[in-house]
Amino acid sequence: MAVIGGPTGGPTGGPTGGPTGGPTGGPTGGPTGGPTGGPTGGPTGYDTAQTAFGLGTARDAIVGYWPGNTEYSPSKPTNIDKLEYLSGQRRHEVLTQELLSAFHVTADQTAETASVFVAPLPTTLTDGATSQVTATEICKLIKPQDTHLENQMKWVRSYADLRADRLTEITEQSVRILPYFGTIGMLNTSRRRATWELLGLVQTVCIYLEMRLKHYTWTPRPIDFAPQVQPIIQTPDHSTYPSGHAAEAFAIAAVLEYFLADETQVQVTPGAALPMPLRMAHRIAVNRTVAGVHFPVDSAAGAMLGMAVGNAIISLGAGAALQKTAFDGNLQDGDGKDADFTQAWFAGNYAPVGGPTPAPLTLLAKLFDRANKEWT
């Protein structure tokens, strides 16, 4: 990664990085690979036998006799809260662990529901001690029954007519969605480096949470119902419900809107147009139905999950109240038809319930501080 990370880390991080590659490819590829690729990529990389051999022969030539004595007092990071000494990828891993430690996914197999809780542990724990932690449910999803999905197939059919028009977006968004939000607010790895890292973190955390939720609420894909679906991308191996793309896109949108609108909760008014990041998130979600790999109901559930996770990350990083969402995959709209996932539907159904304000996470709060300064 170090050697090729410079020029190619940004663009190639997404597709090659697996679950964490997308969000981390950008932050690490840019800052470490580009301007500092020479000094950091070389000495810290040791990626090739040729380099290693050269460094070895150079040492042999100049080090002279060395019995093992020390000459330096090592410099250390000055504060446990500061992560700047780490590469972007390492920072990402540290922060991901911190955030995931505050989230919990549970399932009720008989009721076919799954929930996400926020329950941040104290930073300092004592071995064997009992810690009292208040868990707050932030999202509850009920899986749809097959009969409901069969009704939803008509939407998959209708949206298929838009495939040729959206081919580029669909294939691109199969591997990365963050650049699409970079068209809404200025996002890059220099002026908005902390924000960029934060949004990448949001996506990563979402992926881990949604994958466990998908596992608990496993639901068949459109292709499982009819051979005529013929998606234009390969159907993923995991559950259709909830849509991961919807969850990630809406979570990113919620956090981006926090910076754009300077409000701790996204303002959604029925009948009014959604804020632009949410319109983009909606587009990304619907593209998956156009592609033939998701039902609208998946996107609806993913959107509710994403909003809850995005809001929770704002809560844990900026000290705001948690917002709970819920979605029943079997719900129908008012006139008895199976709901399509439209912007108007989202505006009319996104009604989060406020919860407590959790204690902020130390490292995440620092990242929020840095990101906030990028928008002032």
């Binding site: 209708s158 007519d161 028009d165 038809k337």
Partner: protein, 744 residues
């Protein structure tokens, strides 16, 4: 399987073919009310009127003649009635127990219509597909729509007092705009919600309308070019205030048919409705004043094969309505595209000399999921008596890739008089239809004397070469052949056109267009070995600074020019003088757009250079002047990128689309703006466009068809090169500056 003997048939060849071969039912949509239930209206219309009843024609009244003005009006009324009569009851809106015609405007509808109190207002009517109704460029400065009404013919929620579909009025559209914009006409528009609420986009039905949900929408582009204004610009806002729109969204190909089989009925209803609504608004707004708003109607649609002689239902209707309106002193203007088939090898002119036969190869491709059709029109020198007693004088046969040719008409002999309409079929895989029609040769020219002439129409129908259902017969792909035997003692001229053939679904590859595969037609330049696409005229210029007409130039190794022509590909629906036929040219160098229909390619009594040696060849004029475009507008404005810019599917977006569909609305816009300015409201659309072209062509002698080389207006002085001009000349681009990528 042998060909069946000739036998009479009734109805349209297209209808007969659909019914006989099961193609209609093979679409497997009969159970869906939304789709073909409403199609009955055009089956009826074409079946009982246009195809096998003699057509109404213009001309001096003849005593006791069935084609007198009164009888023509009655015949047209009968056609309109038949449209209403064929609307199935489950989608019909009964009005007092009667089926509503498109021109019926009930009191309930009148109550909803907006007022337009300025009698100088110009109405721009637009008949298209996928027109979104919320774009800012179609809204006034206060955010309210400038669309007075929009008939959504494809809506599945038929409304009371309307023949079919659903009609929205300015008040409805403004309410929907407000509802989808947070209660204000200026808010950000949730277009998905708005387009669904206004029936422009239908995701509820399997074959619902989707055009406006796409990045580039045909109707959005046309609507903007015809009547879009930026009302932030005070000058534009003032003009926009005087130009109002009446829109009709007709159904997409899915309903209209691969070959546009059902187009005419929807279009005719649309024209009727636009005029009826405009009149009703006038009566409501200007009750003290007789008259009507000045009106221009653009329709950027059409079918490729047809009579192209000015004789068909649409031209008959347009001439008649103009005549009626003319009595009121009001001028109606109609614009249509010239067509985009210039290089598709779908057009040929066979001219067998006396007592000879001539053949034409027709290549039908494999994996083609839709039927293929060719229409052959000819005017035999003999009259009806000969045709009906001795049909053998003109014999037309269809030859499959393997197997026997269709029977000659000699088989009809022995039982004269021969029925007007006969057919012979090869199982369910192919059929030949032969019709005898009496028309007025001078139908397009009201000043000319009535000149009855008998036309022979042949329609060749071939089944799809691929079908999903294996219980339906397919036709073999490969080289079919059309053979025409002329047993008269004069040269016969036969206009051959392959019918429109489009996919039923967006971007569907199920329909593959067939073509005339003649070895003498060269696609690419092998004369000088450049390999360039051979357009209508030689490029760069040939000897003596002239652009040679490629249609008159034999390919190397061939003695005569190919019968397959670039010239003559005019959109059949527009091939008459009741409309302006608008072609496209490239703004970069002034040449015709390669796809644009380029005219007749022949002038009466002309001798044209046939090669570089300077010799000339005598050519007979083609049947109809209406084969030539009227004028051309820019449809390409970048040397590298295709098309011109105008609105995309979403408000504020811009898409580049190419085609003469986007030339015609520029003409409509120009006419509307001139009318707003009070500039010669008495001029016909064609007269006005000729005059406009003359401004640019700098002294060009205006005519319907100019094929000689003309000075290149972009390259003077010095006059070192020439450029060919199609139609009466070129007219500069119209519309907002942004349609020109050069920013000029």
């Amino acid at each position: 399987m042998p060909w069946r003997d000739w036998a009479p048939f009734t109805g349209s060849p297209y209808v007969d073919w659909w019914e006989e071969t099961g193609y209609r039912s093979s679409l497997n949509r009969d159970a869906q009310k939304y789709n073909f239930a409403r199609s009955g209206l055009t089956f009826g219309q074409r079946g009982t009127f246009a195809d096998f009843l003699p057509l109404p024609v213009e001309g001096p009244e003849l005593a006791g003649d069935p084609y007198s003005a009164g009888n023509r009006d009655a015949a047209l009324d009968s056609a309109l009635e038949s449209i209403a009569a064929f609307i199935p009851s489950d989608v019909l809106n009964d009005v007092d127990g009667n089926r509503a015609r498109a021109d019926f405007v009930s009191q309930a509808v009148r109550d909803k219509l907006p007022k337009v109190e300025d009698p100088e207002t110009v109405i721009v009517g637009i008949v298209d597909v996928g027109m979104p109704l919320g774009h800012r460029r179609l809204r006034a400065a206060d955010g309210s729509t400038r669309i007075l009404s929009a008939w959504q013919q494809m809506s599945t929620q038929p409304m009371e007092d309307l023949a079919f579909g659903e009609e929205l009025y300015k008040g409805d559209i403004d309410a929907a705009l407000a509802a989808a914009s947070g209660g204000t006409l200026h808010g950000a528009l949730d277009e998905d919600a708005f387009n669904r609420a206004t029936r422009v986009v239908d995701m509820d039905n399997t074959f619902g309308e989707r055009e406006a949900a796409r990045r580039a929408a045909h109707g959005a582009h046309v609507l903007d070019l015809a009547a879009g204004y930026d009302t932030d610009d005070p000058e534009d806002a003032a003009r926009a205030d005087k130009i109002k729109v009446i829109a009709v969204n007709i159904p997409s190909i899915d309903i209209v048919g691969n070959a546009g089989e059902l187009l005419d009925g929807f279009v005719l209803s649309a024209y009727e409705r636009i005029l009826a609504i405009a009149d009703a608004i006038w009566e409501k707004s200007c009750p003290q004043t007789s008259g009507a708003y000045r009106t221009v109607i653009n329709m950027s649609l059409g079918r490729q094969a047809g009579p192209k002689t000015g004789v068909d239902l649409i031209p008959a209707y347009l001439r008649q309505i103009k005549r009626r309106r003319g009595a009121q002193g009001e001028m109606l203007n109609f614009t249509m595209p010239a067509g985009n088939d210039n290089l598709t090898r779908c057009n040929a002119v066979l001219e067998p000399s006396a007592q000879t036969a001539q053949s034409l190869n027709w290549r039908i491709l494999p994996q083609d999921g839709s039927p293929n059709y060719v229409e052959v029109w000819t005017a035999p020198p003999q009259g009806a008596d000969t045709l009906l007693s001795n049909p053998n004088t003109v014999d037309v046969q269809l030859v499959p890739p393997s197997g026997d040719p269709s029977p000659t008409v000699e088989r009809l002999e022995g039982a004269p008089p021969v029925p007007f309409n006969v057919k012979s079929a090869l199982g369910n895989s192919a059929a030949v239809y032969r019709e005898v029609l009496l028309v007025n040769k001078n139908g397009d020219n009201p000043a000319a004397p009535f000149a009855p002439v008998w036309l022979l129409r042949h329609v060749f129908a071939v089944a799809p070469t691929h079908r999903a259902r294996n219980d339906l017969e397919t036709a073999p792909a490969g080289l079919w052949q059309i053979r025409i035997t002329n047993r008269t003692d004069q040269t016969l001229q036969c206009q051959c056109s392959i019918q429109t053939d489009q996919g039923l679904l967006p971007t569907s590859g199920e329909s593959v267009r067939s073509f005339f595969d003649d070895p003498g037609y060269w696609l690419y330049d092998s004369y000088v070995g450049t390999g360039d696409l051979l357009e209508t005229y030689a490029y760069p210029s040939a000897v003596r600074g002239q652009r040679l007409n490629q249609d008159l130039r034999p390919a190397l190794g061939h003695a005569a020019p190919s019968p397959v022509k670039r010239h003559g590909t005019i959109n059949s629906t527009a091939a008459h003088n009741a409309v302006a036929r608008v072609a496209g040219y490239r703004a970069s160098d002034g040449r015709p757009a390669f796809y644009s229909s380029a005219g007749k390619g022949r002038l009466p009594d002309a001798r044209l250079p046939d090669d570089d040696s300077g010799t000339t060849v005598q050519i007979e004029p083609l049947m109809s002047d209406a084969l030539a475009p009227t004028v051309s507008f820019p449809t390409e404005d970048s040397p590298m990128l295709p098309g011109i810019l105008a609105s995309g599917g979403a408000d504020g977006s811009v898409a580049a689309l190419r085609g003469t569909s986007f030339a015609a609305p520029q003409a409509a816009r120009l006419i509307a703006e001139r009318l707003v300015d009070g500039d010669r409201p008495d001029w016909s659309e064609r007269k006005r466009l000729f005059e406009e072209a003359q401004k640019l062509e700098d002294g060009l002698v205006v005519s319907d068809e100019v094929i000689a080389a003309r000075r290149d207006f972009l390259r003077r002085p010095p006059l070192t090169d020439t450029v060919e001009v199609i139609g009466g000349g070129r007219v500069p681009r119209q519309g907002a500056r942004r349609i020109d990528r050069r920013g000029a």
